[in-house]
C-alpha cells in the first residue's frame, strides 16, 4: 500500500511541477501577481509530495519490503540499518528519486527564502526549476519507477554492492547531488535573467548564495568520495581521474569560475554575459556527469547499471536543458552589454585570468574524459586516458593559476600596479621558495617537480595569510566582510589540499611483504609485529582480521587491525583498511591473501600529510559557508531601483 502511495505522490508531484512550470511564466509575462505567486505554492507542494515519495521508498527499504523490485535488487534483510537507508540511493532508480527530492527541496528553498526577489524573477526562477523537475519526475515515472512490485515476493533480497556499504559512501551521493542540483538554481536564475533581458548588480547578489551553497556541497561531496577511494582501494591513492570522478570535477571547476566571475558582475557590473554562460555551463556539466554515469557511453569503476534507452532519455533531456539554455543565451546575451572599463592589470583582469585558467582546466578534463569515445567512433582506435595524462596536462596548468591566486586580491579594481602587489608578497614568496628547497633537500633530488609543487602549496597559504595580515595592519579587520574572510580561508585551504596531495603522491613509503603471526619487521621507523590473524563474523559478512602492533623505540605505539571481508550474499571480497593518523601522516595497513602456513600479504603505507587533503577540502568548503553568512547576503535585499552606474574611465 505504501509503495503505491509513494508512486501516486510522484505522479501528483509531476502534475504540480507541470503547473509550476507553466502558469508562473504566464503570470510574469502578464504581470499577474496571483499567477506568479502560484509558483511558490506549487514549489512547496511539489517538495511535500516528493518528500512523501522518498519517505515511502525509504520505508520499503527499512522494513525490507521484498515485494518492491528495487528493494529486492539492492537490499537484504541482514544489512545494517544505515545501509538499508543508504541503499535507497545506492541504485539507479533510488538515486534519481534522491535527485528529484533535492531538486524539489531547492525549489521550496527559493520559494521560502526568495521573498526579497522581484515577483517576476522569482516566478521565472521557480518555473525553470519546475521544468527541470518535470524532466526528472517523468524520467522516474516512465523509465525508472522505483516502486515497481514483484510477485511473488522473494524471501530475501540480493543485497547492496559491498563497496557501497560504507559510511563514507552512504553520505557521498547526497552531498554530491546537493552540489549538482544546487547549480540548477543558478541555472534557473540565469535563464530567468535572460528571459528578462537583464543581468545587473542585484541579480549577481541574489545568485551568489545559491552558487556558494551548491559549490560548498559539491566540494564536500567530492572530498568525501576521494576519502572513500583512499581508504577502500587499499593503497592510499586518493584521486584516479576516473570518468566518474572527472564528471564531478568539471562542474566544480565551472562553479568555482562562476563564483569568481559573479564577483565582477556584483562589484563592477561587467562580465555579465560570460557569468550567465558559466551559470548555464555549471549545471549542464552536472547533467553531463549524470549522463556519463548512467548511459553506458563510457566505462567506469563506479558506473551504475547501464541502459542505452535511459541514456537516450537523459541525452534528450540534456539537449533540452543545455541546448535550450544556450540557444536562449545566443539570442539574448548579445544584449547584455557592459560599459565598465578596466585595464588588463586590475582585479577584474585577475579574475578573468582565473576564469580563463579554470575553464581551460575544465576543458582539459572534458577532453581527456571523452577522447577515448571520440577516437573510437571516428577511427576505431582504442586509447586510454589515465592519470599520467592528467598529471602531464592538468597539473602544469595549475601553476599559473596558483601563482596568480595570491596576487589577485592585492590588485585594485579598474586599474592596478603589479609591482606593489608583488612587493607585499615578498615574504610569502621567500617562505615558499625555502619550503621547496627544504623539500627537495630532505627528499632525494629526483623529486624536484614535487618540491616545486610543494612550494606552490606553501605559497597559497603564505599568500593568503599575507593578504589577511595586510588588511589587519590597515586596521580594516573590523570592517572586513565575512565574504573576504571566507575567501582567505578557502584560498589558504586550497594550499593545504595541495600540500597534502603532493606529499602523499610523491613521498609515500611502502612496505609489501608476507608475514606470519609472530613475525616482526621495520617500517618507517616503527617496529611492526603481526600478532595474529583471526576469523570474524560481521552482520552480513565473514572476515579475517589481522592485528598488527607498532612499536616506537621499543614502546608500544599503536595497533592496526586491517580486515579482509567476504560478503556472503554477493560473494565479493572487500579489503577493510586500518589507518592510524596523527594529522601529519597516516599509517595505513591492509591485509592481503594468505594462510597460516604461507603467511599473509601485509601492505603498510606511510602517507605524509595525507589527512590534509580532506582537512583542506573541508576548510575550503568552510570558507564558502563563512562567506554564505555574509551580512549582505542575509539582509541584503538589493533594490533594483537605480540604473546601472556607468563608470567613467
Amino acid at each position: 500500500m505504501i509503495p503505491e502511495l509513494g508512486h501516486f505522490a510522484l505522479i501528483l508531484a509531476l502534475a504540480v511541477a507541470l503547473v509550476q512550470g507553466s502558469l508562473p511564466f504566464v503570470g510574469a509575462a502578464r504581470g499577474d501577481i496571483r499567477l506568479m505567486a502560484l509558483g511558490s505554492t506549487a514549489a512547496l507542494t511539489q517538495a511535500f509530495l516528493v518528500i512523501l515519495a522518498f519517505a515511502a521508498l525509504t520505508q520499503a527499504y527499512v522494513t525490507s519490503d521484498f515485494s518492491v523490485a528495487n528493494v529486492v535488487a539492492n537490499s537484504h534483510s541482514a544489512k545494517p540499518l544505515l545501509y538499508k537507508i543508504s541503499g535507497v540511493w545506492g541504485n539507479h532508480e533510488g538515486s534519481m528519486l534522491l535527485w528529484a527530492l533535492i531538486l524539489a527541496l531547492f525549489g521550496a528553498a527559493v520559494a521560502l527564502f526568495g521573498s526579497n526577489l522581484p515577483d517576476s524573477l522569482r516566478a521565472r526562477v521557480l518555473g525553470v526549476q519546475a521544468l527541470i523537475g518535470v524532466g526528472f519526475l517523468a524520467f522516474l515515472l516512465f523509465t525508472s519507477n522505483p516502486f515497481e512490485r514483484v510477485s511473488p515476493a522473494p524471501p530475501d533480497g540480493n543485497g547492496l554492492n559491498p563497496l557501497l556499504q560504507d559510511p563514507g559512501l552512504a553520505f557521498h551521493p547526497p552531498l554530491l547531488y546537493l552540489g549538482y542540483v544546487g547549480f540548477s538554481v543558478t541555472y534557473a536564475f540565469a535563464i530567468a535573467a535572460l528571459l528578462e533581458g537583464r543581468v545587473d548588480v542585484a541579480w549577481a547578489r541574489w545568485v551568489r548564495p545559491w552558487t556558494l551553497a551548491a559549490w560548498c556541497f559539491l566540494t564536500c561531496g567530492i572530498a568525501l568520495g576521494s576519502w572513500w577511494a583512499y581508504y577502500i582501494l587499499g593503497w592510499g591513492g586518493f584521486w584516479f581521474w576516473d570518468p566518474v570522478e572527472n564528471a564531478s570535477l568539471m562542474p566544480w571547476l565551472a562553479g568555482t569560475a562562476l563564483l569568481h566571475s559573479a564577483i565582477v558582475v556584483e562589484k563592477r557590473d561587467a562580465l555579465k554575459s560570460w557569468t550567465v554562460l558559466l551559470a548555464i555551463l555549471a549545471f549542464s556539466l552536472s547533467l553531463l556527469g549524470t549522463f556519463l554515469v548512467r548511459s553506458g557511453v563510457l566505462t567506469s569503476v563506479h558506473a551504475f547499471a547501464q541502459d542505452p534507452a535511459r541514456g537516450l532519455y537523459i541525452l534528450g533531456f540534456l539537449l533540452l536543458v543545455t541546448g535550450g539554455g544556450l540557444a536562449l543565451y545566443a539570442w539574448q546575451a548579445p544584449k547584455l552589454v557592459s560599459n565598465a572599463l578596466f585595464q588588463p592589470v586590475s582585479r577584474e583582469g585577475a579574475l578573468i585570468l582565473n576564469n580563463l585558467l579554470l575553464c581551460t582546466l575544465a576543458a582539459t578534463v572534458l577532453l581527456g574524459t571523452l577522447y577515448p569515445l571520440f577516437l573510437d567512433l571516428v577511427t576505431g582506435d582504442k586509447v586510454s586516458v589515465g592519470p599520467p595524462f592528467f598529471n602531464a596536462t592538468f597539473v602544469p596548468l595549475c601553476a599559473p593559476l596558483f601563482a596568480a591566486l595570491c596576487v589577485g586580491p592585492f590588485l585594485a579594481w579598474k586599474r592596478a600596479e603589479i609591482a606593489p602587489a608583488l612587493a607585499r608578497l615578498r615574504i610569502a614568496f621567500a617562505v615558499s621558495v625555502v619550503a621547496a628547497i627544504v623539500a627537495a633537500a630532505a627528499i632525494d633530488g629526483r623529486a624536484t617537480l614535487s618540491a616545486i609543487a610543494f612550494g606552490f602549496g606553501v605559497w597559497l597559504i603564505a599568500g593568503s595569510v599575507t593578504e589577511f595580515v595586510v588588511r589587519a595592519r590597515r586596521g580594516r579587520l573590523r570592517t572586513m566582510t565575512r565574504a573576504a574572510i571566507g575567501m582567505t580561508i578557502s584560498h589558504a585551504a586550497l594550499g593545504v589540499v595541495v600540500l597534502g596531495s603532493v606529499a602523499t603522491a610523491s613521498w609515500q613509503v611502502e612496505m609489501i611483504r608476507t608475514m606470519k603471526p609472530g613475525e616482526t619487521a621495520q617500517f618507517a621507523g616503527y617496529g611492526v609485529r603481526l600478532e595474529q590473524v583471526a576469523p570474524l563474523q560481521g552482520p552480513n559478512y565473514i572476515a579475517e582480521r589481522a592485528t598488527l602492533t607498532l612499536t616506537d623505540g621499543g614502546k608500544p605505539y599503536t595497533t592496526l587491525t586491517p580486515e579482509r571481508r567476504l560478503f556472503t550474499v554477493q560473494r565479493r571480497q572487500i579489503s577493510e583498511t586500518s589507518i592510524h593518523t596523527n594529522l601529519l601522516r597516516d599509517l595505513y595497513a591492509t591485509l592481503g591473501e594468505g594462510d597460516a602456513t604461507q603467511g599473509w600479504t601485509i601492505r603498510l603505507y606511510w602517507n605524509p600529510l595525507a589527512p590534509w587533503i580532506w582537512l583542506g577540502a573541508g576548510l575550503c568548503a568552510l570558507g564558502g559557508f563563512v562567506s554564505l553568512t555574509d551580512r549582505r547576503l542575509r539582509v541584503g535585499a538589493p533594490r533594483r531601483s537605480r540604473p546601472a552606474v556607468q563608470a567613467a574611465e
Partner: protein, 153 residues
Amino acid sequence: MRRLVRVAALLLACSPAFATEPSEMLKDPALEARAREIGRALRCVVCQNQAIDDSNAEVARDMRRAVRERLAAGDRDEAVMAFMTARYGDYVLLKPPFKPGTLVLWLGGPLVLLLAGGALLLAARKRRAPEPPAPLSEEERARVDALLRRDDA
C-alpha cells in the same frame, strides 16, 4: 548477452585492493622500483581504468610478471612498453602516445588557453584604443570614485 557476461566477469575479477604480491617482486630494489613505475603506467585490460600495478585480475598479474621478466633480461623501460603495446596496442598505455590520432587530445587544452587568452588580449587592446576624447582629471576621478563607493555601500 555477451556484454552482460563480461560485466559479471569484470565484477568478480576486479574487486579493488589486492595487487602486486610479495612473491612476484624482484630481489633487486632498483629493478623492482622500475617495474612498479611501469606497472603504474600500464592499464589492466580487464578492469576499468586500473593500472596493472593495482589490479588483481589474472591477466594483470601475468603482465606484471612479464614486465619483471623483461626487465630482469636487461630490457630498457621503453622496450618493455613496446613489448606490451605490440600485444595490446596503445590501449594499455595510461598516457596515450603523442601521434596524429591524439593530437587533439594533447593540444586541445593548450589551444583553448591560447585562443581564449589571445582573444581576450585582443579585446583588451581594442577597448583601450579609442581613448575618450577628454580624459578625467585626477580631481574628477576622485569625485566619481567617491560617488561610486557611496553607491556600493
